[in-house]
Point group: C2
Chain length 115, copies 2
């Protein structure tokens, strides 16, 4: 069976999301549009690198931009992308809960589990 196109698109989408700087950018854009000059003060990377990361997200259609004078404002194209991040956080939460659960059962029989 030939590799299905939805699978490839899904993987590409995930790839363009899969970088700390890009997650950070999306978090900063969550309340609304921001110009690059604002983003750069909140994110600790070089200007050219920020521009490249913005390019990755824009190429994938995840963010969009608008020019105003010398400034460029970016915004999230479809808020549904935030659900992706929320879903990841939820799963990571599940993983942490489970390991805490396993740990607490090691200490079963009383006390806090310390010795």
């Amino acid at each position: 069976m030939a590799e299905d196109i939805v699978t490839r698109l899904t993987a590409e989408f995930l790839k363009s999301l899969a970088h700390p700087a890009r997650i950070r950018i999306l978090r900063l854009l969550t309340p609304g549009e921001r110009c690059v000059c604002e983003l750069i003060t909140e994110i600790d990377i070089e200007q050219s690198n920020l521009s490249q990361h913005l390019g990755v997200l824009k190429k994938q259609g995840i963010i969009d931009s608008r020019k105003e004078g010398t400034k460029v404002f970016y915004r999230i194209t479809h808020p549904s992308v935030l659900e992706v991040i929320r879903a990841v956080e939820k799963t990571i939460g599940d993983q942490i809960s489970e390991s805490q659960n396993l740990l607490s059962h090691l200490g079963k029989g009383g006390g806090t589990g310390e010795n």
Copy 2:
């Protein structure tokens, strides 16, 4: 501000998901556990490569395994990971809907837009 750990964990999680073969594996595991010998027949990659992709997912805690005789069965650890994939598909759907919408407006004024 130092890079927050949730952001890094989120990016790492997304990275380990961001490959067509790995998305494919999760789809195959959605109905329930499968042995590698079954997976290999449904996915068109080499056995050692499949094993490596399974390793990536397992290291991230996304899948888990159980040995039975000479076979190894893999399963999804937390079904919430499937929400991540669904959310990506939803966003891609939003993107496609929007571009179809834009296209249809180009043809506004009658007809199908063909000439």
